[in-house]
Symmetry: C2
Amino acid sequence: MARVPHANLDCSPGCPVEGVLAIIGGKWKGLILYHLLAGTLRFNEIRRRVPNVTQRMLTTQLRELEADGLLVRTVYAEVPPRVEYSLSPRGRSLEPIILALKAWGEEHLRPAIPKAVVAA
Amino acid sequence: MARVPHANLDCSPGCPVEGVLAIIGGKWKGLILYHLLAGTLRFNEIRRRVPNVTQRMLTTQLRELEADGLLVRTVYAEVPPRVEYSLSPRGRSLEPIILALKAWGEEHLRPAIPKAVVAA
DNA sequence: GCACATAGTGTCGAAAAGGATACCGTCATG
DNA sequence: CATGACGGTATCCTTTTCGACACTATGTGC
């Protein structure tokens, strides 16, 4: 989704809501943040936990989350390359929100269609 | 932002997070939901509270929120037209999340630039 | 008649977001 | 040499989102 620019000076009282959604709302970001709650993960570990995300998109979204100060990317001088991602304190402070989103989704969103039905 | 389709059968444990963000994450939706927390509002009332939203976008987002079951649209057989929007029980259950988003935004997002500075 | 109230709708284009595909560099192993 | 590990990057295309602009319908008041 589009970034809501804070350059918009007619910012109304609800603006922070929109602002937060703008930084956590990109595709795959919710999943990434959720999985990082459990602790530091490497690139391919995230990728395995978020099936169907392309490498390209994972990189892009991780870089954006980093730019917004929600996660920390640690590069080790190793071969093969080793890069670790973990929530920053700022990102960690989103934990109750992420967990509340998960709980609400589990209660109110339709469950996925079982595989067997689709195969028919 | 794009709807995350639940037709994606490889839904991982964090999927509900992504699913909720997909329905509340469109531009202006966070603001709309926030303002409706205070109670029933008419179209132009919402519009005045959300400066800079176009009529077109307000209509579109309201219709999506309605389709996702988050709000109720009540049409009165009157002239001039009278249409009221209010949170559904399902939408109302998002209140703690919306308020948490607002609190987090107020604490962690940069404040808007004061008007006087821009005028300079 | 015109302008105002209300709440939209239709159409199209621009911009943004997302994704597909090929390729990269270093080292280790068979 | 080829292939695999790792974590990407580059390029281009597709899809989606958003917004601009014009128009709509009914009634009322000047």
